[in-house]
Symmetry: C2
Subunit: 342 residues, 2 copies
């Protein structure tokens, strides 16, 4: 992949064109996720929140969208060689399912300390998992070596035009959703790791809902996009970053995703691990939704006033729900013990 | 209410007419629930399962549909007098939310041993809870006394034309769902307590999908509809019936619901508490769905071969998700310890 060439050509218009072209092919493999609304939640925040539960997407996160689109872009070669990816878990499962759907062998480089549920699910989808040490080894180098050995294409988790176009399918679903047919929402809050999801959604909305403000939400321990937006250049997270939001622990905003996010996002905010866990508990208790902390940060931003949601309509992307029992119980415990939000 | 008169007039055609008329008014207060599909689940059962997650409906079960429609049928009187209902929990929350939406005071007779989460949620919706002993007192008598005292209408949990028509809105959503636009599913499995949900859905499908077989699924400890269908008359559950499926512990099929179910259902099956709990665990682990045991029995019937789902499309209604942590953990524990299903 010649990143320089692609980077110069990739912008909101090309993302939307690619997403629109891909969507009919992706759609038949996706779970339709509605916009859910809860009276209690609206009262709590004093505004209207519409939740898009991508935790109910196949494999439990939105990642199948981009993974499948990227895999389709390298067929039929991948059917001969297999594909390689690296991921803390959700992209891994997305690639594994995409590969199974297309008859491709997936090889996934995954941290040794990834949640066991994510590793097990990836293997059950037929993928070969290659473990590595998150703190001493370089996952990208390991994946590239494997890809070279096999002659196989790599499916990055965010910094790839077809991945961004796949995630943009959420934007296409939003603009077609009957619940917002009468009026575009004022705001959309998107969980952000490498920025592929926010770049994809913001690209679509920039054409269809130009007045809608799209915000990236990150864990405060890995707020590289927040800081990069503030500084006007891509800055990295510390290599030893730790957070319960394992799905969002990317080293740096993407070379392809950041320029789009920089051009289109209204801003970025971050939430603490405690706030993300509280929100995991809230979603379990009040909405019967199983979220992982990284999938809950956008809702956490609304619950904890990081973005003003009063007296307006805000769409919240719930990006994933692959959470172990202990983490879910931690979230419920924090929620149960917390004083009621005003 | 003159039940004799209504009973003689109530049939599938009048249910569908009432549901079609009510739906535009109900719809704006409902969460749209999609049909979810999971590759792993399809592989497991050797057929295509489409899950309608009414656990994501407002208040965590489908009950808001019938409760709101019934409340609307007795406005504006109820705004002066309040309304009275009895329920183990899900109908209670449905009535409480409906009452809040319409500015009505709800009074709910609820068993002392109802799951704490259900009682708390009902009270937080503004309802007044009147507790009673499930094993020694008659909830209907208590509710009727309260209604007489207030001069208020009663909203029964299933045996009422407007309640059945409200639940029938699920049938209207099924026939309009793009996922089954090409071909009607061969089967629909519906969790069954008093039979309002199955009667409502079967009424709609009898006109629109006449070849589709609709089955009621009950807990084996409260299989009154299964036995009533077999005997051709309404038979009761023992008064001391106990099951983890608290949402389905009705004394007997309804006078209004049973004739419709008798005419339209392809049959009824039951699942054990263990099978229902296993399914609660399956849904949490594999689909990121929070179900209560009573809301899981239809899926349990598919997972445990009570209905043959191989090589065909089966819609499964997941009817509710108001489950306490302990019960959810019990389900996960049973699922984790069970040998893998073939």
């Amino acid at each position: 992949m010649n990143t320089q060439t692609i980077e110069s050509e990739l912008n909101a218009a090309t993302v939307v064109e690619a997403a629109s072209s891909a969507y009919p092919r992706l759609r038949s493999e996706l779970n339709p996720t509605p916009l859910l609304e809860y009276a209690g939640l609206n009262r709590l925040v004093g505004g209207r929140l519409l939740l898009k539960p991508e935790n109910l997407q196949r494999t439990g996160s939105f990642k199948i969208r981009g993974a499948l689109n990227a895999l389709d872009s390298c067929l039929p070669v991948a059917q001969e060689t297999g594909v390689v990816a690296w991921s803390s878990g959700n992209h891994a499962q997305g690639v594994a399912l995409a590969a199974r759907l297309r008859g491709v062998q997936a090889h996934i480089v995954m941290p040794e300390d990834a949640p066991p549920a994510k590793r097990t699910s990836t293997e059950r989808l037929g993928a070969i998992v290659i473990p590595y040490d998150r703190y001493t080894e370089n996952r990208e180098a390991i994946a590239m070596a494997k890809a070279a050995e096999l002659g196989a294409p790599v499916i990055p988790s965010y910094d790839h035009p077809a991945v961004i176009a796949g995630q943009a399918s959420i934007g296409l679903e939003l603009i077609a959703d009957p619940r917002v047919a009468d009026a575009a929402p004022e705001q959309v809050l998107v969980c952000c790791g490498g920025g592929g999801l926010s770049a994809g959604i913001a690209s679509v909305l920039s054409f269809n809902w130009p007045q809608t403000r799209v915000y990236a939400v990150e864990p405060s321990a890995a707020d590289d996009t927040v800081r990069s937006l503030a500084e006007g250049r891509r800055v990295a997270n510390p290599s030893d970053t730790r957070s319960v939001c394992d799905a969002l622990l990317t080293p740096t905003p993407g070379a392809l995703t950041f320029p789009i996010n920089q051009a289109l996002l209204a801003g970025g905010v971050s939430v603490t691990d405690e706030e993300a866990l509280y929100t995991v508990g809230y979603a379990r208790r009040e909405c019967r939704l199983v979220l992982e902390p990284g999938g809950a940060v956008a809702l956490a931003a609304a619950l904890h006033n990081k973005i003003d949601v009063r007296d307006r309509t805000t769409v919240i992307i719930l990006s994933g729900g692959n959470v172990d029992d202990e983490m879910l119980a931690r979230g419920c415990d924090i929620y149960d013990r917390a004083p009621a939000l005003e």
